[in-house]
Amino acid sequence: MDILTAFIVILSISLLAGILLLVFSRLFSVAKNPLEKDIRECLPGINCGACGYKGCDDYAAALAEGGVKTNLCVPGAQKTSDTISNILGIEKEEVEDVVAFVACNGHCDATCHVAKYEGINTCLAASMLYGGTNACHFGCLGYGDCANVCPSDAICLDDGIAHIDTSKCLGCRLCEKTCPKQIITMLLQNTSTVVMCSNNQKGAEAKKACKNACIGCKKCEKTCPHGAIEVKDNLAVIDYGKCQNCGLCVSECPTGCLKSVFFPDLPADYDFASLSE
């Protein structure tokens, strides 16, 4: 009998609470900006936060209020920006498509580990212990923190380093923020020449650490007809404002850290290993 009363009391109070909440939500509903719903529907809804707002809902609310750029949604790209501009009736804005890029080519054949790590299996934890066990202190650790945060499964770990499938990459920058070595950068989608190294040690030390490292020999700097490459801190840096994608530097590079890559439409069965050949 006792359990029945308890049941009835809980049930009735919960029901009452539910009904009260329903009544309140009807009585005190606040009219939303009708634009907000339309805008929210054309946003992708994966809440990646690349726009700088808390999520798609938040960005939609800010857009409906006005005064916010429509080209902030990275995964939605140009199409979303155009649709939002149409809904708001304002001028269209250009979207620059970006993809993530791992500036390291230190795969298992090129570099080695100097110690054995048996701790927590994340890049962050590994990097906190003397900067990781890699011979090269700048390179990819290969525990896949970036792959874990990637919302679109665009990152795979192969041969000890992270590879990004640029056809899947949304450009949300989550991996860029996550990488403890800060070797993931965002490149424009029309980029075709990249420096696959982040090591700014002197040539001999860099070469000792990894066969594929940039040794800062300045050959590319001299070769480039457009003056787009400069060696800063023993590391070649490409100025993409000047780079014409001619690829002359790629054939000159003695260690092969300068690469020609083809963004964005790699076939799904693309062999990433061929990049490092």
Partner: protein
């Protein structure tokens, strides 16, 4: 007169002697999480005070007239949690409609209070202490004000900690916890004062 004296004792001892954050260690989460800036901590403190008052006003009659009469005292925890959550939701809707500026000011703190143990603690302790309805309300007000006081004090200290040159191992949460324990120690010093003033 005697009654008024009792109410003042309840109020002041709830603020100082039995401060929920610093002496009973309830509601530590917002105490550490939302005390970075003064205006935020004031917002949180006011919101908690408001919710404590409303929660007590509803839970006390339910305990006295429903649970006690039916002998279902053991349902106290689960029912109080349910009631507090509902009340906070209702308050949120009301504020959103009636005072959007206050709603925006309180922001995320209002929904956070839904699961604040200090609020549940006040409602349950009022029953345990055997307070009457008026005494319960005064005690809730005192607890809320005590929470507000602790938040304001601590936000002041934290803003100074931010500017101080702290040894590396203590930076961040470590020094915050140490500072919190010092304030807590200081508040322990209020023990017995209120009762003796009004004795």
């Amino acid at each position: 007169m005697e009654e008024l004296r009792l109410l003042i004792v309840i109020l002041l001892s709830a603020v100082f002697v039995d401060n929920y954050v610093l002496c009973r260690f309830l509601g530590i989460c917002p105490f550490l999480g939302v005390s970075k800036k003064l205006n935020q901590s004031v917002g949180m403190g006011v919101a908690v005070t408001l919710v404590m008052l409303i929660a007590t006003a509803v839970t006390w009659p339910i305990q006295c007239y429903v649970l006690d009469t039916l002998g279902l005292g053991y349902l106290q925890n689960i029912l109080f949690i349910l009631i507090i959550a509902t009340l906070v939701q209702m308050l949120e809707m009301l504020l959103k409609k009636l005072s959007p500026s206050l709603y925006k000011g309180l922001g995320v703190y209002l929904p956070l209070i839904t699961t604040n143990c200090a609020v549940l603690g006040v409602t349950i302790n009022n029953i345990i202490d055997g307070y009457s309805f008026v005494e319960s309300m005064v005690s809730s007000l005192g607890c809320g004000l005590g929470f507000l006081l602790a938040m304001v004090l601590f936000s002041g200290i934290r803003s100074r900690i931010n500017e101080a040159n702290i040894p590396t191992p203590f930076r961040g949460l470590a020094v915050t916890l140490i500072a919190a324990s010092f304030i807590s120690l200081a508040f322990m010093g209020f023990g017995g004062i209120i009762e003796n003033i009004f004795a």
